[in-house]
């Protein structure tokens, strides 16, 4: 949707780096950079998927945007929400109101609280300091009805929900918040096909209401099905941001060699694996992060980290891309 991508972004993440202070041996401290120079943006009404392998620190992006990183994390770079820089105070003020998180699993619900109450609490917070019980209940019931959750579900505890129900309850917390930006962190693993389709439908609906949706996932096929743009995450950074239409045919429209290789590795394409492994954050290669595994690598690739640059309708971090 080119018209939407040209509207003013609701979220702009630029050159974001997240590092953790660690005690290595004794009192010696070292810092481990998990995310480096990550850039991504989301416009209203758009779904942007950040796709990367499991355990590569993608969730930290969500936590950084919400300002709920653990205390030993340090961040640099800039995050802007609706054009305004996200400081700790601003994050605290708009958390749950302007930005909502849809977490990974039912473990993110309080095990001892009825799920309806948890959704009502989200609705109350989103509507400022005057909690109106009746209004919150009405909003929660509407959200439940919308997602085909039976009225009696509101009195259930998280452990009594099925996987699909739990997912819909989690999405409902975002719906009732009326947030302008929804961040969904790995929302589909462990669900059957029907439940995945249903969840993705919920996201499309949220986006069609004019919200921006940032979908963080390891599942590229899910991402391709629903997203408008795909940001490819590799070794702690984004190597390419491409419109979803570019993922077609033999991947000729794609810009970065890693994205092309990822596309070709899918079962429906060549099913050809990429040799080698992603580097660990404390053993990153010289120059371009993908260069040791890249079929197109030249001596210039080791000279320095390539900058993110615009190529056609997308962004890429490769000196050879055109």
């Amino acid at each position: 949707m080119p018209t939407q991508t040209k509207s003013k972004p609701i979220l702009e993440v630029e050159e974001l780096s997240i590092s953790f202070a660690q005690y290595t041996s004794g009192l010696r401290q070292s810092s481990l950079k998990v995310i480096a120079d990550l850039s991504v943006s989301v416009c209203p009404g758009e779904i942007v998927a950040v796709v990367g392998s499991s355990g590569s620190g993608k969730s930290l992006l969500a936590h950084a945007i919400l300002g709920i990183l653990p205390g030993n994390a340090a961040i640099s770079g800039s995050i802007r929400f609706a054009g305004q820089k996200l400081t700790a105070e601003y994050q605290e003020a708009i958390r749950g109101r302007e930005i909502a998180l849809i977490p990974q699993s039912v473990n993110y619900l309080d095990p001892l609280m009825q799920v309806g109450k948890q959704v009502r609490n989200a609705a109350k917070i989103a509507r400022g300091s005057s909690p109106d019980r009746a209004a919150a209940r009405k909003i929660q019931r509407e959200a439940f009805a919308r997602y085909n959750l039976a009225p009696e579900v509101e009195r259930l505890l998280p452990f009594q929900l099925s996987g699909g129900m739990a997912r819909r309850v989690l999405v409902a917390t975002a719906l009732v918040s009326s947030a302008r930006l929804v961040i969904a962190d790995e929302p589909t693993p462990g669900l059957d096909d029907a439940a995945v389709r249903e969840t993705l439908g919920c996201f499309r609906e949220l986006a069609d209401q004019g919200r921006g949706v940032l979908l963080i996932t390891h599942d590229i096929e899910t991402a391709l099905e629903i997203a408008d743009r795909i940001a490819v995450f590799y070794a702690g950074t984004t190597v390419e941001v491409a419109p979803v239409q570019d993922f077609s045919g033999g991947g000729e429209a794609l810009r970065h060699p890693y994205t092309k290789a990822l596309w070709r590795s899918l079962p429906k394409n060549d099913f050809a694996p990429i040799p080698g492994f992603q580097p660990h954050p404390n053993a990153l290669p010289e120059g371009c992060l993908f260069q040791p595994r890249c079929p197109m690598a030249t001596p210039e690739c080791t000279a320095g980290r390539p900058e993110m640059r615009a190529v056609r309708e997308g962004m890429v971090r490769c000196i050879h891309a055109s």
Binding site: L66, D110, L112, M113, N121, I125, L157, F159
Partner: protein, 327 residues
């Protein structure tokens, strides 16, 4: 499993426990060097000839085999007859009942105080993890956890009774006052120091457990999500912390009744408080076998009821167990 079958099963288990306990303690006592005749006669033993003492032994059935003696005693216990205390020359059940009422005031005060105070301290330490408040509370708890009850009791007596003179040195009522003249205020006044000793010690356990549980809860995914939804500070604690932490705290507090009984024995001894604990020590030192066995059975019952109460409360309060069964 519903609540009624659950309780029935627990009662069955209690019966088994009591039977095993009776057999074991009777067996231990029968092998101890205690001579019941000597314990009964006391200082007049030198004036009792060996024929006379043999006659007493025969009258009591002491020359019969242990199994027969046990069955004799056991059937009496089943009929509610715990025998006669040799020190007090009164039925054991009566002595235990009277002593227990005195101890009950002491134990329940200490139990409630330590539970409430310990939970509050643990909650503060957990919420303020890593700050000076947390460190202070932890230091206090570790110090107390390694403090023997009798030593703390002696310390309190020294400071508040001897040096400052604020509280009486010991006993449950003022010395030399007629039983009819003793007021409730008198009793409470004498209760304060021993109750304080016991509750100060009881705090450490529940506080440290509550703190650790709260730290775990605060690091959980659901707290992270609650923060992502904009909840923070006290609101976060009330909504998600309190309930998740209160359940283990209640269990611990009920399960700690056994430790409380142990502490009471020492504290009552230090303060000469006429409770069950003091009676235990006397019964042990002066070879009052019937009283000792009676107290053993009674304390086991008390501990069992405490644990049972914890189990039942857990089932009533924890909606996961309650709903999981009805579903």
């Amino acid at each position: 499993m519903g609540l009624v079958p659950f309780i029935l099963k627990k009662l069955l288990r209690m019966a088994a426990l009591l039977i095993a306990l009776c057999i074991l303690s009777f067996w231990l006592v029968s092998y101890s060097p205690l001579d019941p005749v000597q314990a009964y006669v006391g200082a007049d033993m030198t004036r009792v000839s060996s024929e006379q003492s043999e006659m007493i032994a025969e009258y009591w059935g002491l020359n019969k085999p242990p199994l027969e003696r046990f069955l004799h005693w056991g059937s009496a216990v089943l009929h509610g007859d715990l025998g006669t205390s040799m020190i007090f020359r009164r039925p054991v059940a009566e002595v235990i009942g009277e002593r227990f009422m005195a101890s009950l005031a002491l134990m329940s005060t200490a139990w409630l105080l330590s539970g409430v105070l310990g939970f509050a301290l643990g909650a503060v330490a957990g919420m303020k993890q890593g700050t000076w408040a947390d460190r202070l509370i932890k230091w206090y708890c570790f110090t107390l956890a390694s403090t023997p009850a009798f030593w703390l009791g002696l310390l309190l007596v020294m400071v508040f009774a001897v040096w400052l003179g604020w509280f009486p040195v010991g006993l449950g009522v003022p010395a030399g006052k007629l039983a009819d003249d003793v007021t409730l205020a008198n009793r409470i006044y004498h209760l304060i120091l021993p109750a304080l000793t016991l509750s100060i010690l009881g705090v450490a356990n529940v506080a440290l457990h509550t703190r650790q549980k709260l730290v775990d809860v605060l690091a959980s995914d659901y707290i992270l999500f609650a923060r992502a939804r904009g909840e923070k500070g006290l609101q976060l604690f009330w909504r998600h912390g309190l309930r998740n932490v209160a359940l283990p705290a209640v269990t611990i507090q009920f399960a700690s009744i056994s430790e409380l009984i142990g502490g009471t024995v020492l504290a009552e001894q230090v303060f000469s408080y006429p409770g069950l604990g003091q009676a235990t020590v006397q019964a042990g030192l002066r070879s009052d076998v019937p009283l000792l066995l009676g107290i053993v059975i009674f304390s086991a019952l008390l501990v069992f009821v405490g644990n049972l109460a914890a189990d039942i409360i857990y089932r009533v309060v924890d909606p996961r167990i309650r709903k999981g069964e009805s579903a």
